[in-house]
């Protein structure tokens, strides 16, 4: 759980004035947002997909500026957007995640099939614990509950792909393969989710 630091109340920073929030969405993102808004009766309903756009635009995670931009674009309050973003675990709020997000399922089936051995192996190899990111910013390791792929237990979710069943011997090769991948899996995942929200004709028009 995040700890909050006590500060002098008089020094509490002010929330940014909506008119001064810097809007950084690319042209493509703006078009996507406009298309998405037509799917819903009001702007509030578009918060989740817009957060995905923001997560892609801001490099795989949601810094405060991203939350603010979503709030301004959807005319909702900052706090409301932050509340939604922190509710769902697939949005990464506040701190950057690595280019590749490795999520280890340690729920029942995977556990029985050796998920903890896999997890230990990953931790040793990357030198990080669950919830941490390697210093070079390439990998983030997370522990997750059932990924709904018990038939492939033990299973990993690596950004936008499920890998499983895995065994310890494959871990080294997997890490090397990911390390040599210059793209960012987390951004790719966000992009795919945004695309999945758009109708085929909208996708065509925006491309």
């Amino acid at each position: 759980m995040e700890t909050i630091h006590l500060e002098n109340s008089r020094g509490r920073p002010k929330a940014p004035n909506p008119e001064q929030v810097e809007l950084k969405f690319s042209d493509q993102a703006v078009q996507e947002l406009e298309a998405l808004l037509t799917h819903y009766p009001d702007k509030k309903s578009a918060i989740l997909p817009t957060l995905w756009i923001a997560q892609r635009e801001y490099g795989g995670y949601l810094p405060p500026e991203a939350i603010a931009e979503v709030a301004v674009r959807l005319q909702r309050s900052y706090a409301e957007i932050e509340g939604v973003a922190t509710f769902y675990t697939m949005y990464h709020v506040g701190h950057p995640v690595g280019r590749h997000l490795i999520e280890v399922c340690t729920c029942l089936t995977c556990q029985v099939c050796g998920a903890y051995r896999i997890a230990e192996r990953l931790k040793a190899k990357l030198g990080i614990d669950f919830g941490e990111t390697t210093e070079d910013g390439v990998f983030t390791l997370e522990e997750v509950e059932c990924l709904d792929a018990c038939d492939r237990a033990p299973v990993l979710q690596v950004s936008d792909a499920y890998i499983g069943p895995v065994d310890e011997a494959e871990i080294d090769a997997l890490i090397e393969k990911l390390r040599s991948d210059p793209g960012s899996g987390t951004i790719r995942l966000a992009d795919e989710i945004v695309k999945a929200q758009l109708h085929a004709n909208e996708q065509r028009d925006i491309r």
Binding site: M1, P13, P64, S77, A79
Partner: protein, 711 residues
């Protein structure tokens, strides 16, 4: 049991074996109150939508079948989200309900720190009370409780103790539903769920203080009140807030001669139960250590304590029969009785018409105001009526600052039935977020903006040809035309006298009145005052009338030496008048300056005589709010030191100048006011119990247009 005859709109339900009729759809938690019973609650609040978050209100529910048997639902239901429908059977006191309540409280207390002995809420805490009455005496949970920051300042006023939060969402819903700034939201989830501001920025809502009161535990506490007292140590007295002209009902809590906190008091006609932060946190001056307690008289450059009779002597010497060489200026927090007596003293004994209570740049004379130019009253709409308006035009400064309660009602109108609101302002305002159109104009261009909108509104209407012709030079743009859509039918206008502080304020007001008159909406026009008793001062004639000098002329008069003696009653010109240099010159120049004040102010440096006077909680008196509701405030404390109620002071002075029958009670003054001005008749003291009494509004003399402003 024989069924009751059915009335339309009512349904028959049974609560704990008693059959009763309630409006269809009424929430069971409310219906139960009709029987004098109670369901324990946390998250439910009668003025907000129910959410069913805490489960404290579980009841057993069933349906009466045609054969007379009752089919119970297998699981308990939340009474706060359950609407009454025909044949509903509710049981609030069965074994299983009692067990449910115990269970819910045991759950809610899993992580609650139980630090009641050091909690501000202890003694008035719904969680404490419900646990005492409905909860288990001990718990089965032995796990370590979650630990979180104990005193996190969300703002200057509100301190959050996260460990105590029971996640009921009242605070979050208040900012979303009532104040509308949505500055609080729940972040994270599960046990980590916390009500917070975005990125822990300042909770600078204009209504933030209310969340302290509605939090059912000690999670949101007042930074000022923290650890100052236990509720049972406090003396709680009803009073009225004087920080603005809305006159909200409040509870005034004091202890050992010090104000410790202000809480909202239910008054459905004015503030429902809310307060704004100005009022809730703005009474600190009452505790100032250096409030004048004795008359002070200047002797060789220093103010020295003196007795009343010397002070009176000097005042009489300088003011009696001073005619046009003496003048009086008045602040906003002066009661009707004080104002009336002050005016009488000036008119009868000083023979001076030079009185004013206004401090804005523009000081319209009798013939220039709304009444003079347009023949309509300044005020037509009562505060509670704002929640049922369908369309409104809001002009000038932020409505939430000038008229907080009108703002809350108007927002409610938008939320409940989609009232259309058009805002014209120079700066962002609170009402922007629900306005159907916002016209943001440059500084100093308010008048043009109103004129352009007027032209657009008239394009949609028949009649008012003269006005339409006069508005020719103001061509509306697309934005104005879009805004005018919202004002097609009847609409209410609201503006505050603070607009007179702007250079084009007079023209703006006139243009608004023209628009209202030209569209047959004169009955819905409002120009509300801003200072606590500005309305009273205006009604009682504490202004120059036809012959006297207004505030500006008085200050100029002091500089030029035409005014020899000046009396400042509960006002600090340095804080109120826009031109500091002018104030300084005036006060330096005037020969004799009386500063009568309840709190130390800058003008005292220049005073010849300082008279201590009572603050509103130290003397009985009545005050007139924006909707001409006269409310009585009763003395809560003894006056500080030798201070006396102003009316008494004036009476004593008048007796010195002209021995006659003295006045002993402020109620006698009210009788005199009524004798002089019929319209005050409803405000006789015996009528003022409870929420006070309203004087007539909307006394129109025959609406007129005034076109010269457009030239």
């Amino acid at each position: 049991m024989a069924s009751l005859a059915q009335e339309p709109g009512l349904v028959t339900i049974t609560i704990d074996g008693t059959e009763l009729q309630v409006p269809k759809g009424e929430l069971v938690v409310e219906s139960v109150k009709r029987l004098g019973r109670e369901i324990p609650i946390f998250c439910y609040h009668p003025r907000m939508k129910p959410v069913g978050m805490c489960r404290m209100c579980l009841v057993e529910v069933g349906m009466k079948q045609p054969d007379g048997t009752v089919r119970m639902m297998p699981k308990p239901q939340a009474g706060c989200t359950l609407p009454a429908s025909d044949n509903l059977v509710v049981i609030t006191d069965s074994e299983s309900v009692i067990a449910d309540r115990r269970g819910v409280l045991e759950f809610l207390l899993i992580n609650h720190p139980l630090d009641c002995p050091i909690c501000d809420r202890g003694g008035e805490c719904p969680l404490q009370n419900n646990t005492l009455f409905y909860g288990p005496s001990t718990t089965r949970y032995v796990e370590v409780k979650r630990h979180l920051p104990k005193a996190f300042p969300l703002s200057r006023h509100v301190t959050l103790d996260l460990e105590r939060c029971i996640q009921c969402g009242r605070c979050v819903r208040f900012t979303e539903e009532i104040s509308g700034d949505a500055q609080l939201a729940f972040l994270f989830r599960g046990a980590a769920m916390t009500p917070r501001t975005f990125e822990l920025t300042d909770l600078d809502s204009k209504f933030s203080g209310n969340v302290i009161e509605i939090c059912p535990v000690g999670a949101l506490t007042s930074s000022d009140y923290r650890f100052r007292a236990r509720p049972w140590d406090l003396e709680t007295r009803p009073s009225t807030c004087l920080e603005c002209a809305n006159g909200c009902s409040v509870w005034f809590d004091h202890r050992g001669g010090k104000m410790v906190r202000i809480n909202g008091r239910v008054n459905d006609a004015v503030n429902e139960e809310w307060t704004c932060d100005k009022g809730k946190f703005g009474h600190g001056y009452l505790n100032a250590p250096d409030r004048p307690a004795k008359p002070l008289i200047r002797k060789e450059d220093v103010l020295a304590a003196a007795d009343w009779s010397t002070a009176y002597q000097q005042i009489v010497a300088h003011f009696e029969d001073g005619r046009t060489a003496v003048a009086g200026l008045v602040g906003a927090k002066v009661s009707n009785e004080d104002l009336f007596q002050f005016k009488r003293m000036f008119h009868r004994h000083f023979h001076s018409p030079n009185l004013d209570h206004r401090w804005t740049r523009i000081l319209p004379s009798q013939t220039e105001g709304v009444r003079g130019l347009h023949g309509i009253d300044e005020v037509h709409t009562r505060i509670a009526e704002w929640e049922s308006v369908n369309a409104a035009l809001v002009v000038g400064n932020d409505l939430a600052s000038d008229q907080p309660m009108v703002y809350l009602r108007l927002r409610k109108a938008w939320q409940r039935h989609g009232a259309k609101v058009v805002v014209i302002s120079e700066r962002p305002t609170y009402a922007d977020h629900f306005a159907s159109a916002v016209i943001r104009c440059e500084e100093g261009k308010l008048f043009e903006a109103v004129a352009r909108l007027s032209a657009a509104v008239l394009q949609n209407r028949e009649g008012a040809d003269a006005l339409r012709a006069a508005l020719k030079p103001f061509a509306p743009d697309a934005k104005d035309r879009a805004a005018a859509e919202a004002l097609k039918g009847e609409f209410f206008t609201v503006c505050s006298e603070s607009v007179y502080a702007k250079p084009d304020g007079g023209k703006t007001v006139s243009a608004l009145a023209n628009l209202a008159v030209g569209t047959d909406n004169a009955q819905r026009f409002n120009l509300y005052p801003v200072g606590a008793n500005d309305m009273g001062a205006a009604l009682l004639g504490v202004h120059p009338g036809g012959q006297g000098m207004n505030t500006r002329e008085i200050l100029e008069g002091c500089i030029q030496g035409r005014i020899k003696s000046l009396w400042l009653l509960e006002c600090d010109p340095f804080a109120l008048w826009h031109d500091h240099q002018q104030v300084q010159d005036a006060l330096e120049n005037v020969e004799f300056l009386v500063v009568q004040t309840s709190a130390p102010n800058q003008a005292m440096q220049y005073a010849s005589v300082v008279l201590p006077c009572c603050a509103h909680v130290e003397a009985d008196g009545t005050y007139t709010n924006i909707e001409r509701r006269v409310q009585k405030i009763e003395a809560i404390w003894r006056p500080k030191g030798d201070a006396k109620p102003s009316w008494k002071l004036f009476t004593e002075l008048m007796l010195r100048m002209n021995p006659s029958r003295p006045i002993f009670e402020p109620s006698e003054l009210m009788e005199m006011i009524i004798a002089e001005d019929e319209s005050f008749a409803p405000a006789a003291y015996h009528n003022l119990e409870g929420n006070g009494a309203c004087l007539p509004l909307g006394v129109d003399a025959g609406a007129q247009l005034f076109m010269e402003i457009y030239q």
